[in-house]
Structures are given as structure tokens and as C-alpha cells.
């Protein structure tokens, strides 16, 4: 099989992930989009591993690392989202801009 097909799938997956991260308001969906991007990267790594016939299989090894990190990251990310929801009753990322400048009036609005 030509390496172009899996790379094309990988690129599509990455584009979907980027769209999700940039456009979705729900924090859980944003996290899921991040996972999609990571998996797109994994797919690309494995594809190159096979295509280049790497004797050390660095691509496969690296994708195992990425899967591990992604699991840890989603665990932490979901915990943060849970806490944010408990504190604010919302997980819309547009409303979570307390660290920004110049919109202090929104701070009180988003508080319960």
C-alpha cells in the first residue's frame, strides 16, 4: 500500500482536530479534538516507520509514548474540566477568560 493514503487520513484527522480545538465551545469537545490531533500524529508516525523501513522502529516506539502521554493528559484535562464545572456551572471556553485583560466586568457575570 502506498504511504500516501494513511498520510492523507492523518492529515484529515489533524485538520478535524484543529477545527475542533479552535471552533468548539465545549471544553470536553476541545479535549477530544486534541486527542484526535494526537492520534493523527500517531498514524503519521507509524506510516513513516513502515514506509521508511526503519530497523529501530522509532516511529512505533514514539507513538507508544504519545498514547501514554495522551492518556495522562486526558485524565488531567477531564479533572480540570470537572472542577471548572463545579466552580462555575459552565465549561464553555469563551466564558473562561478571567486571566485576560480588559474584560473584568465579565468575571462577575460568569460567577454563579
Amino acid at each position: 500500500m502506498h504511504a500516501l493514503y494513511p498520510l492523507l487520513v492523518s492529515a484529515l484527522l489533524f485538520g478535524v482536530g484543529i477545527y475542533g480545538v479552535l471552533a468548539r465551545r465545549n471544553a470536553i469537545l476541545v479535549l477530544m479534538s486534541v486527542e484526535i490531533m494526537l492520534n493523527a500524529a500517531n498514524l503519521a508516525l507509524v506510516t513513516f516507520d513502515v514506509a521508511l523501513d526503519d530497523p529501530t522502529h522509532a516511529g512505533q516506539s514514539l507513538s507508544v509514548f504519545v498514547i501514554t502521554i495522551a492518556a495522562a493528559e486526558i485524565g488531567l484535562g477531564l479533572a480540570i474540566v470537572l472542577l471548572v464545572f463545579r466552580l462555575r456551572q459552565t465549561i464553555a471556553v469563551d466564558d473562561l477568560h478571567d486571566l485576560g485583560e480588559g474584560r473584568s466586568d465579565d468575571l462577575t457575570k460568569s460567577r454563579p
Binding site: 484543529i18 480545538v21 471556553v93 474584560r103
Partner: protein, 619 residues
């Protein structure tokens, strides 16, 4: 025994007094008086131990770790002046216990009087230039504090600042002169440095001209004289101390101390002659028309100090020191009497006095002795000391001095004219204050005991001290500084011609005033109106010269500095700050906490950048 012992008493009293502060009010007076007593006792002990002609030079203080190069010279000159200082300081302290009894800041006042005395004694016994400069500068500080004693009064504050600034102006020259002296002779010891400088005319001229600036400032001579009349804003005992024992005496004393060096510099001596003649007559004329009792005495001090400077200029430090000591006694007495009068009348203006002879018999009797002595009436001490200056001038006129015959004639003529003016203003003070009818509104009373006794005690030397100059083995030998030159036994006794002339001039000056007074006993014999009198009353407008030469350029420079600081530096800093804030506010708008927007922007920029790079690489 080192000469520093005379300094210890008043210095300890000053430190104790400053530490006591407002506490232990009962102890302040006794501590201050004891300090002065200790100085007097140490002075007498030094006097008893010294064989008169040999100076005793001691090396300073050597401890296990420190060597303080405070060496001293104790010889006849130092001991004589030290005893005079100690006597006047003691009587001033006793007098102050009564005069300043109700004063809330009596503690600091007494402590600073003690410190003033200690500094003057340090100058007197100084054997090295370091100790000399230390004492000299501490005196400047003390005069500032004491003149500003009543600092609630704006006039007192202004007078204190003026005294400090004017004397410091001279002190700049003094300190530079001392540095040049040390640098050119390589010696810190007074005797060695003076001896080395005396051999080189150029060094001696430069050093003495610089030192003369300090002397002119401290001894209130033209052109740095104007601080002294204003210094009358201080309490009367302070005036007595400044005008008699300390401060103004220091300038004359330092010249007498380093006299061989001055004799080697004829240029400096010529300058001194001019200064002395101008000051002598000008100050006496200013004294003639003052309406304030203490200002008359202040101008008279300036005039009398010019006699001493003139004596030094025409080559007789014996006459200068003789007049210095005799003047110290009668001028201290005059100021203490004036203090008693002011204490009793409640005003310093002579227009509110008069007729006090009846209500204040002791004060008026002692004041009469002091005024007669000041005027130079025969057999009182002022007569003999002034005669000694005239004798010195007469000798210089005969070509007997370094400076030349013209100086002798100039000093002789000016002194004789000034004698008549002095007699006139002394008579006027007496007639306006003690004779005639009381013009004030209060109830004048005799001074309390602690103020009366110092007057009586000071009246004794003010009257009879002059006789000590007649016998060669008395004052001339006691006060002779060292064996470098032979003492002249004929320097001090009066000469017949000058005696006759000065007695006639005293009589003339006094009778003019007395006649004018008799025609109108309630009025002023020399009314301060008319163009000359009003100009003389303000010291011939010399303050305007200070204003033009020093004050206005200085304020212009400070104004310019302040403007540059404010407009140029200050505003630049402010503008830079404002610019940073504006830029920051612009950038701030992009930071709104919206992560997704920020990421979108970052991605867009990255992609566009990559496209640009790709296009650039491919073409």
C-alpha cells in the same frame, strides 16, 4: 601637661548638657558653670607650670591603637588668651543661669556655650593645623546654633544662616590656605609649617592671603563684616561671648599665632591695612546712628577688631593681643550690661530706655566703666590698649614696619579719627540709656544677683587691666609667644604725642554729642534721618552688595538647575513612562483570555509564514 586639658572641662560639660537635654533642669546650670571653672583651673595650672618664654609643644594623644595628631603649643600667648577666654566664658555661664532661667531650651543653649568655649580653647592651644581647623569650624557651627537660639523669630533664623554662610565663605579660603600651607611645607605642626613658610615669600603671600579670607570672615572685617550686627538676634550673653572671648577673637589670635609668616608677606599686610582702615572708620560711623543698643555695640566690636587687625598689619602682634584681651573684658561687660538693661526694660531700642541710672545703679556704674574704657579715656584699660596700637602705627610711619611708612600714616590717621567717633557713640549710648528721663512704659529694676556679680567682676579688669602693659615684666612678657624674636619692652606703653592727641579727640567727640543732647535731652543726638545717617544705619547698604554679588547669581543658578531638572529631565522621564503605558494599552487589547482566538491567530500567522517561506524557497 598637654594644653588639651583646658579643652576637656567645657567639652565634657557640653556633652553632659546635650545628653541631659530637657531632663534634670536643676543640673544644667551647675554643669555648665563647672565646665568653665575646669577650663579656668586648667588654664591657671598651665600658667603656673610654664616658664614663660619657652613654648611647650606636646605630641598629641597616643593610645594603644590610635594616634591622634592633636599636638598643642602652650606658651605665653596661648595661656594669656586661654585665661581670658576661660574668665569671660565662666562669667557668661554664671550670668546665663539667671538671664536664661525661663528659657525652655536652656539645656542646649548652655551646652553649646560650653562647646563654643571648648572650640575656642582648642584653637588657642592648637599646635597643629588639624586641631586649629577643627576648633575653627566647630566655632562656626556653635555661632550658627546660638545666634539662632530664638528660632521662632524669623529674624533670628535669617541672622543665623547669614552668620554661617558669610563666615563659611571666608572659611573656604582659610581651609584652602591651611591645605596649601601643609602641602608646601610638608608639616602639620604649626610651628614648623610657619617657620618653613616664613622663608619663602611667595608661599607666605599665597597662604596668608587665603588665611586672611577666613580671618576677615571670623573677625567680621570688611567685606565679610555684615553678619556681626545681624547676629544681635541671639541672646545677649551669646553676644558677649562671640564679641569678646570666642569667634571674633579667633581670627586675630590666629594671625598673632602665625605672625612670622605674615611678616614675610608685605602684600598681605598692605591688604590688611586697607581692610582695617575701611572697617575701623566705617563701622564706627555705623555705630553712631544705630537705634538698637546691641547693634551699636556690635558695630563697635567690628570697629575695635579693625584696630587689632591694623596693629597686626603694622607689625605689632603685642599691641593686637593687648587690645584683644582688654577689648574682651570691656566688650563682654558692655554686652552683659546691655543684657541686664534689655532684661529689665524688655526692649532693645534705645528710644525706650533713658534714665536707667536711678533704677539700675550697679549696671549703670559698670556700663559707665566699660563705655569709658571703650572710648579710650585715660587710665582705663581701653586707653592703654588703644594707645599701644597708635604707638605701633607711629613706629610704622617712621619706617619701622615691613609694610611701609604709608601704612603707618594711614592707620594713624584713621585710628585718630575713629577715636573721636568712638567717643561720640559711647557718649550717645550713655546719654540715651542711662541719663535723662525714662521713656519706656515698663518698670525697670536692677538685675538679679547672678547677673549683677559677673558685671562687677568684669568691671575690675575692664578698668585696671591696662596697667599691666606699662611694666615690661608684666603683660608684655607674659603674653610673649616664643623666643624667635626679641620682645620689645617699649611696644605697649603710651607715647606722649598720641596720648595728647587721642585725649583731645575723645573730649571733642564726646562734647559734640553732649552739647547736642543738652539742647534736646529726649531726642536722639544723632537722628537716623538724612541721607548719610540712614545709609550708615544700614551699614552703608553693604547687604545690597551681598545681594548682587552672591545671593542673586546663586538664586539664578539654582532656578536654572531646578528648571532643567523639572522641564528637561523630569518631563522626559514622564513622557517615556506615558509612551510605555500607551503602547502597553494597545497590546493589552489583544490579551482577552480567549484561548481559541489566540490559537487561531497563532495558527494563521504560522501557516501564512510557511507559505511565504515556501514561495520564497521555490522561486
Amino acid at each position: 601637661m598637654t594644653g588639651l586639658w583646658v579643652v576637656v572641662g567645657p567639652l565634657v560639660a557640653a556633652l553632659v548638657g546635650l545628653c541631659l537635654g530637657g531632663r534634670g533642669r536643676r543640673w544644667i546650670g551647675p554643669v555648665a558653670v563647672l565646665g568653665a571653672v575646669a577650663a579656668l583651673a586648667a588654664g591657671l595650672a598651665l600658667a603656673a607650670r610654664q616658664p614663660w618664654q619657652d613654648p611647650v609643644v606636646s605630641d598629641g594623644l597616643r593610645g594603644a591603637w590610635v594616634v591622634l595628631p592633636l599636638s598643642t603649643v602652650v606658651d605665653g600667648l596661648a595661656v594669656t588668651v586661654a585665661l581670658m577666654v576661660a574668665v569671660v566664658a565662666l562669667l557668661v555661664q554664671i550670668y546665663s543661669t539667671a538671664y536664661m532661667r525661663d528659657e525652655p531650651r536652656y539645656a542646649t543653649y548652655a551646652a553649646f556655650i560650653s562647646l563654643f568655649t571648648a572650640a575656642m580653647l582648642a584653637v588657642v592651644v592648637a599646635g597643629d593645623l588639624l586641631l586649629l581647623v577643627i576648633g575653627w569650624e566647630v566655632m562656626g557651627l556653635c555661632s550658627y546654633v546660638l545666634i539662632g537660639q530664638n528660632w521662632e523669630d524669623p529674624a533670628a533664623r535669617a541672622a543665623a544662616v547669614k552668620a554661617f554662610l558669610v563666615t563659611k565663605t571666608g572659611d573656604v579660603g582659610f581651609v584652602v590656605g591651611v591645605i596649601v600651607l601643609i602641602a608646601s611645607t610638608g608639616s602639620l605642626l604649626l610651628g614648623d609649617a610657619v617657620a618653613a613658610a616664613s622663608n619663602v615669600t611667595s608661599t607666605a603671600t599665597v597662604v596668608t592671603l587665603l588665611l586672611l579670607m577666613g580671618v576677615v570672615g571670623k573677625s567680621a572685617q570688611f567685606p565679610l563684616h555684615a553678619w556681626l550686627p545681624d547676629a544681635m538676634a541671639g541672646p545677649s550673653p551669646v553676644s558677649a561671648l562671640i564679641h569678646a572671648a570666642t569667634m571674633v577673637a579667633a581670627g586675630i589670635y590666629v594671625v598673632a599665632r602665625t605672625f612670622p609668616m605674615w611678616q614675610a608677606a608685605p602684600v598681605t599686610l598692605s591688604v590688611m591695612v586697607v581692610i582695617a582702615c575701611l572697617t575701623m572708620l566705617g563701622a564706627a560711623l555705623a555705630a553712631l546712628v544705630q537705634t538698637d543698643l546691641k547693634r551699636v555695640l556690635a558695630w563697635s566690636t567690628v570697629s575695635q577688631l579693625a584696630y587689632m587687625l591694623a596693629a597686626l598689619a603694622v607689625g605689632s602682634e603685642q599691641a593686637a593681643v593687648f587690645h584683644l584681651v582688654s577689648h574682651a573684658f570691656f566688650k563682654a561687660l558692655l554686652f552683659l550690661c546691655a543684657g541686664a538693661v534689655i532684661h529689665s526694660v524688655g526692649s532693645t531700642l534705645m528710644s525706650e530706655m533713658g534714665g536707667l541710672r536711678r533704677s539700675m545703679p550697679v549696671t549703670s556704674a559698670t556700663m559707665a566703666i566699660a563705655l569709658l574704657s571703650l572710648a579710650g579715656v585715660p587710665v582705663l584699660s581701653g586707653f592703654f590698649s588703644k594707645e599701644s596700637v597708635l604707638v605701633a602705627a607711629e613706629r610704622a610711619a617712621e619706617g619701622d614696619a615691613v609694610v611701609g611708612a604709608w601704612a603707618g600714616w594711614a592707620v594713624l590717621a584713621t585710628s585718630l579719627v575713629t577715636i573721636a567717633v568712638t567717643a561720640a557713640y559711647a557718649t550717645r549710648v550713655w546719654l540715651r540709656t542711662f541719663a535723662g528721663r525714662y521713656r519706656g512704659g515698663g518698670q525697670p529694676h536692677e538685675a538679679p544677683v547672678a547677673m549683677r556679680w559677673p558685671l562687677v567682676l568684669l568691671a575690675v579688669p575692664a578698668a585696671v587691666f591696662g596697667f599691666t602693659g606699662l611694666v615690661a615684666s608684666w603683660f608684655p612678657t607674659w603674653s610673649w609667644p616664643s623666643a624667635t624674636t626679641a620682645m620689645d619692652p617699649e611696644a605697649l606703653p603710651p607715647a606722649p604725642l598720641t596720648t595728647v592727641l587721642s585725649v583731645l579727640l575723645v573730649a571733642a567727640g564726646a562734647s559734640v554729642i553732649a552739647r547736642r543732647w543738652r539742647s534736646d535731652p529726649a531726642g536722639d543726638p544723632t537722628p537716623p534721618d538724612g541721607p548719610f545717617a540712614s545709609s550708615a544705619q544700614s551699614g552703608f547698604g553693604w547687604d545690597a552688595v551681598y545681594e548682587a554679588v552672591a545671593v542673586r547669581p546663586f538664586t539664578a543658578v539654582t532656578g536654572l538647575t531646578s528648571a532643567v531638572d523639572d522641564r528637561l529631565i523630569g518631563r522626559t522621564v514622564q513622557r517615556v513612562g506615558e509612551l510605555t503605558n500607551t503602547l502597553g494599552a494597545g497590546v493589552q487589547k489583544a490579551h482577552r483570555g480567549l484561548v481559541q482566538k489566540a490559537l487561531t491567530a497563532a495558527l494563521t500567522v504560522t501557516v501564512l509564514g510557511l507559505v511565504v517561506v515556501a514561495v520564497a524557497v521555490s522561486t
